[in-house]
Symmetry: C3
Subunit: 209 residues, 3 copies
């Protein structure tokens, strides 16, 4: 179990760094910008979560995640033309969705275990863990953030974090199974959105004037 989480975390960090760099690469960013934005995409959400939790930043205790993000960013810089192939890019999107699903549940779990602002706190910090890095990247790169798109990206994570908090509260004996199911549900919804190009239905969007 631990091991599965570990490996999904490794894969997710790499995928976040790669998709993070790809998202800004077409603007002509230098290698320093690539490294910073790749790393921030991968570890920014968890960093903000840890700041709000008043706990040491996770990467100050285990730097593996930064090394992974640095490596993946350099790789993406060098092999950009490989990763921008439609087929490969699509794969990256799926892995990125898997990463968001894991990071969301992992963030909620950490907040729950620290007794942080139950019941809303873990949901909020799960979402922050999953999308915070991408938001920071977009702000620093001057891009429109996820919040202003209509992508089905954060909503699956939010629903899964809500479900996970309900499970932790009402059926704590099913924590492990619950975390797996919530993660799969979150990923499944995101994968469906990528596959069928689903977006937030118009009825849930404010009218532009």
């Amino acid at each position: 179990m631990e091991e599965i989480h570990f490996w999904i975390g490794v894969i997710a960090t790499i995928a976040f760094a790669i998709t993070g760099v790809l998202a800004i690469a077409d603007r002509g960013v230098d290698i320093f910008g690539v490294l910073v934005l790749g790393v921030i995409t991968a570890i920014g959400g968890g960093t903000v979560r840890d700041i709000i939790l008043e706990t040491p930043t996770f990467w100050s205790e285990s730097q593996m995640y930064i090394w992974l993000a640095l490596g993946a960013s350099v790789l993406t810089f060098v092999a950009e033309s490989f990763f921008t192939q439609p087929q490969i890019y699509r794969w990256m999107l799926y892995i990125d969705g898997l990463g968001a699903a894991l990071f969301g549940i992992a963030g909620a779990d950490k907040a729950w275990n620290m007794d942080f602002g139950l019941p809303l706190g873990p949901v909020i910090l799960g979402v922050v863990t999953a999308i915070g890095g991408g938001l920071l990247r977009d702000i620093l790169a001057g891009r429109k953030t996820l919040l202003m798109s209509h992508e089905l990206y954060a909503i699956p994570v939010t629903l899964a974090c809500c479900a996970y908090v309900l499970i932790l509260n009402f059926s704590p004996q099913y924590t492990i199974e619950g975390s797996m199911i919530c993660m799969l549900g979150s990923f499944g919804l995101r994968a469906a959105a990528i596959y069928w190009d689903l977006r937030v239905p118009k009825i849930f969007i404010t009218k532009t004037r």
Copy 2:
């Protein structure tokens, strides 16, 4: 006294969430963006203040504010056409100004009581509490921030926080009266700015080139 503060806090949180959502609604934001940006407008400033103060985020101890902000955001999403009526919107601006006045003094008060960086610290954190949430919303929504407008919004708050710190320092026996007067002064100035559409005089603005 406590009770008055409590109720102004409740009203201010709701007003911040409503004006926060209204500020970005015309760009076609989905319900997730509405919730996040509404909540961030309402509680973002206090969150940044608490992070700088190294004290637990206020909403981790009392989630009422988040529920209020969530509720007000959903309400604004559903009843957008009600709130955008000029008459109602104007009312919201006044209540928002009252909220900023209260949040400013409350933020300065919290920093003062924690002995944080006297005398400048409480002024800075009062201003952060009052305008931080709006700044975060504008950054995430890709809007021009308050700092680049010439609105008389932050200046009344800043002056009131300065006055309040002077009172706390030189006439601590008048803390309660002082906080009320500073709040009213801050709100009065803001209300005058809304009513007469006052802006920062040209002489206090850098020349564009």
Copy 3:
């Protein structure tokens, strides 16, 4: 030694505030915006560093830096036409580069002494100290950030922080000399970039599409 650092810190803070204000002055910013953006440019990076380090913000313990930044910002507002003279502005750029060099090494040093996430932590926080304030200013002012330019600004700082961490690790007996050399190297590279208008070579920039 201490004294040299102190004076470079004073000069750097003033230079950061001045160049910070000059960077946004041409957009027509009011005096409140000038003060906030000037102060944030000067102390924002160190503030973020201290938040990540979970240590009291440096300016809560010594407010001199804020007063200096406030004074320099007002001065720049009043005497804008003086500072925008090409000759003077160029001087400011050099002093700003000296400030970045010092802030980088000072930030890395603080993280190292707190045993924060060795070996990568001090490098990251050194860079954050040096460029964080400028990034915050640009985000709040709606400008393109440094990360999206191709200026040789952050790279010298990063290299110097890496070198300094290596010295701290392998030759701790040369800490003082090492810090001076790294600072001078960082400044020298930046000064060369200003003088000859050097930028990041094209080969280190992603291709725009």
